[in-house]
Amino acid sequence: VPTHTFILNGKRVSVDCENNVRVLWVLRDLLGVTGPKYGCGMGVCQACTCHLNGAAFQACSVAISQIKPRDRITTIEGLAATVGKELHPMQQAWIDHDVAQCGYCQPGQIMAAVALVKDAHASGRQITDADLDQLRNVCRCGTYPRIRDAIKQGAANMPIHRVKARKKKTTHTHTVAHH
């Protein structure tokens, strides 16, 4: 059984696992990181959304063999540390707007929201309602309107300039943020 090494929430981890196991199960079943949730296992509901080197990806849809030792995976558990705070501005916005009901989809919603805002900021613009319409994350409780409000607040409090700066030197941005 091959060994896979990568950086998980700022710490280097190694795990013995067959190549084709998807990242979601490596995180949840082998490493005990249970923030990312299973909602479909088809890349549809986005409840397992995490960040790979700062960009959103569906952990249910990527085989662990594709993850290289330099890759940084951030789950909801490690999100706050990427900004060196107790809570990421998006998490704080979620609390301020009392977004969650059952909470099952919300880790994925928050991770998708952060990535959406980063994408918009990276191209030098603010998020729009049209951007929010593109979010695919399913929330069966129907918290969608509060999610929209929270993302707008979270976006306003995310450091737009630092995101742009990071784009140029992608190698050690997040690890720097951890220490």
């Binding site: 696992c17 790979l52 990527v62």
Partner: protein, 775 residues
């Protein structure tokens, strides 16, 4: 209520009903019996005999614990209970610890989460228990200091003597404890003295949720409980006859067990696979070769079910002479009842005992049935209730717990059972398909009669509802299941207007378990009320009246008129709107509460055909205004959330969300096949108004939002396109399905495999669908 103090090392206080209050055995009026006695009364009466077993504990650290005998699935009752206790005790909210109680059979009907009844039934017992604890601690402090209890003041969990001495609840926890259970008369606060109840409070576990620490059943740390999934039959309730390649699959990476699980009355079964990871379970299930037996509905499709429903419909009596008849039959298709967290349960069954973890709304039934299934005494089975990732009626049914227990017993190891999403859609529990005939007769400015004949696929009420109906209504314990359905229907269906003689009746086809059905959120009401509200608009039109003014004139409850007026005013009813767009308005009364909803819909081609990748778009609700009167709102913020969520449900059920039955299976197998509301169909303007208190106890909230919003959306759509829809959801009979149905063998799709550079844009690369269909 009479309080009492329970023998314990620290203070434990409970309460019970001092006298036996009215019960269901009181005579029921015949016209609309539901006006005098409804499902809320039934469920609350069922809790009364054991209300005294609701207790809270004061801990040495000054916190107060409450093991809530209900299920929390996002409806916010843990927060509302914490607020109730904190307010009654003068304790900071964050010092109340609410957990979910394990199954307690001695509670009988008082550990059943259904009918939006939790806060209604717990409100008084919980306050009485809290007031008992508060009173007892005051008494203990007074004795300790030798001062009159009346001279003491309480603030933030601390008792103050006139001379400045203080004692915290923690200090008094042991001193106030009793060694023998004794009665105690609690002094409940006056409602006007409550400070926390009625204020907006955020969910108590919000921080855990946003940091990913909230634990669901699949997150229970039981190391040996390895991932387990079931390979399910190609058609509904089919049976696995033989596994043809067991050793081959056992040899696959990670796989530890492969076992045939026969279909029984409580276990769906198939072939169970246990492995190191769920990913390996998925691979193994796809590799399994199984000989399948037929299912009981292999010959059924939506059109044959519809024909059966029409056949079973009971004819209406002759219409009142002299009036004008408006009559229509509406069709409500099957739709999923599943939350986002799939069916899950952890089971550790040993030779002489069993331990189960699952998000269960009927845990006592689960415990008793599991004991029976396993052949163990009930007390050897421990059932833990985990917080659930949504319910909407689904968690009433203990399918995953039954199945996990059966598998764990069979292989002799702990299992972590999870249903695949595709299984949830195809083998999960559904809102039963139904037709609803409504006939109104009017003469001049009066409606003389309204009759409704609702005919549906049988709903499974064996999860606990049925037994409560039997128990409270004093019918034989094994009353037929149709009796259960009719009982629930008669306790919920109502017409909130003065329409003269009114009759509403439910009939059902098939057995309760022919299809896997569920008392999906708001049960019959979304369909029943949508059908009526559409006819109300027809009546208004026929009489030349405005839909809002017509309702205002005919509504027979002042509270109903107040919420109606509120949404009309806030929503600017009657404003000029472009062709192809329109407003719709509707009200609903249930759970001792009133709701009104106004929506604006855009059904213009530009909106209907808007392009969102791999999505069904269609008409969009652009604005939604909702007013809610629950009597006494405990947490207005949580109440708003429930109405918002209920409205997203209502919009979906009116416009987009359904299942297509063909040859014994549902075609939908993914969230991209069954179109529950997504961001692209979410209204951008949503306003929820909580009305000021109109009563002294909280009505129900969790299901209240669905019927009014579904009906308002349907009415708005009818007005926008100039034609009343008669089939729901309105996109159900579209020309093209809009997706390629996943195969049935193997029963679940492979895990997607995206190259890393594409994974970053994963949403662009999900399964391709056929050309999108504009409605």
């Amino acid at each position: 209520m009479l309080g009492y103090l329970i023998a314990a090392p620290t203070l434990v206080a409970g309460a019970r009903w001092a006298a036996d209050p009215q019960t269901a055995r009181a005579a029921l009026p015949t016209a609309q019996p539901v006006d005098n006695y409804d499902l809320t009364d039934l469920l609350t009466d069922a809790t009364r005999p054991t209300a005294g077993m609701i207790s809270i504990a004061v801990n040495r650290d000054g916190t107060v614990s409450f093991a809530l005998p209900r299920s929390e699935n996002g409806q916010g009752i843990t927060t509302a209970c914490a607020m109730t206790i904190a307010d009654e005790m003068d304790l900071p909210l964050q010092k109340v610890r609410v957990t979910l109680a394990d199954a307690r059979p001695e509670l009988v009907w008082n550990q059943f989460t259904a009918g939006s009844n939790s806060m209604h039934s717990l409100w008084t017992p919980l306050r009485a228990a809290a007031a008992t604890a508060r009173g007892r601690m005051t008494q203990a402090a007074a004795r300790m200091w030798g001062v009159p209890a009346s001279s003491l003041k309480i603030r933030d969990g601390v008792i103050f003597a006139p001379d400045g001495r203080t004692a915290s609840f923690g200090d008094l926890a042991e001193r106030a404890a009793v060694s023998k259970t004794v009665a105690f008369r609690p002094q409940l606060k006056r409602l006007s003295d409550l400070k926390l109840v009625g204020t907006a409070q955020r969910r108590i576990e919000a921080h855990e949720i946003v940091t990913g620490r909230k634990r669901f059943a699949m997150d229970v740390p039981l190391a040996d409980a390895l991932p387990t999934m079931v390979c399910r039959p190609p058609t509904i309730n089919g049976t696995a006859l033989a596994v043809l390649n067991r050793s081959e699959v056992l040899a696959m990476p990670g796989v530890t067990d492969v076992v045939l699980v026969p279909h029984t009355s409580t276990v769906q079964g198939g072939v169970a696979v246990r492995a190191k990871t769920f990913g390996q379970c998925i691979d193994a299930i796809r590799a399994l070769k199984v000989r399948w037996g037929k299912g009981p509905v292999d010959d059924k499709s939506a059109d044959t079910v519809l024909a059966d429903l029409k056949q079973a419909e009971v004819p209406l009596p002759p219409a009142a002479p002299g009036g004008t008849v408006i009559e229509q039959v509406f069709t409500f298709n099957f739709r999923p009842g599943d939350p986002l967290e799939p069916n899950t349960a952890v089971a550790d069954v040993r030779k002489d005992r069993a331990e189960i973890w699952s998000p269960l709304k009927s845990p006592i039934w689960a415990k008793q049935q599991i004991a029976m299934n396993l052949g163990m005494p009930v007390q050897k089975v421990t059932v833990h209730v985990t917080e659930g990732g949504g319910s909407f009626g689904r968690r009433l049914y203990c399918d995953a717990a039954f199945e996990a227990a059966a598998i764990s017993q069979k292989i002799g190891k702990p299992v972590r059972l999870m249903w695949h999403r595709t299984d949830n859609f195809r083998h999960g529990r559904v809102h039963p398909m139904a037709i609803s005939r409504v006939r109104a007769v009017y003469l001049g400015d009066n409606v003389l009669t309204l009759d409704q004949r609702h005919t549906g696929v049988a709903t499974d009420f064996t999860e606990g509802f049925g037994e409560i109906v039997s128990y409270v209504a004093d019918t034989p314990p094994n009353a037929n299941y149709l009796g259960y359905s009719s009982g629930i229907f008669n306790l919920t269906a109502n017409v909130p207007y003065n329409f003269g003689l009114v009759s509403q009746r439910l009939d059902e086809v098939y057995q309760y378990n022919t299809f896997n059905t569920s008392a999906v959120r708001n049960i019959f009401s979304p369909d029943v009320r949508t059908a009526i509200e559409l006819i109300v608009d027809q009546l208004a039109k026929a009489m030349g009246k405005d839909p809002y003014q017509f309702r205002r004139e005919f509504v027979r409850f002042d509270r109903g008129r107040a919420v109606l007026d509120k949404v009309a005013q806030v929503g600017n009813w009657g404003r000029a709107m472009p062709a192809g767009t329109a407003q719709g308005i509707a009200i609903h009364h249930e759970y001792k509460a009133f709701a009104a909803c106004l929506v604006e819909i855009d059904a213009r081609p530009k909106t209907v055909n808007r392009d969102v990748y791999n999505a069904y778009t269609g008409p969009r609700v652009t604005k939604l205004v909702f007013a809610v009167d629950v009597g006494l709102p405990i947490n207005p913020l949580g109440l708003q959330a429930q109405m918002m969520g209920g409205s997203m449900d209502g919009i979906a059920q009116a416009l987009t969300y359904s299942l297509h039955l063909k040859d014994g299976h549902f075609l939908e197998g993914s969230w991209d096949d069954a179109f529950y509301t997504r961001q692209w169909n979410t209204p951008r303007d949503v306003q929820i108004i909580v009305m000021p208190p109109t009563g002294d106890s909280p009505g129900g909230a969790g299901e209240l939002g669905v019927a009014a919003s579904m009906a308002a959306t349907a009415c708005a759509y009818a007005r926008a396109v100039g034609k009343m829809p008669t089939t729901f959801p309105i996109n159900h009979d579209r020309a093209q399905l809009g997706f390629d149905p996943l195969p049935y063998v193997p029963p679940i799709p492979p895990s997607p495999s995206l190259p890393i550079q594409r994974a970053r844009r994963a949403r662009k690369h999900v399964r391709h669908r056929q050309q999108k269909t504009a409605h």
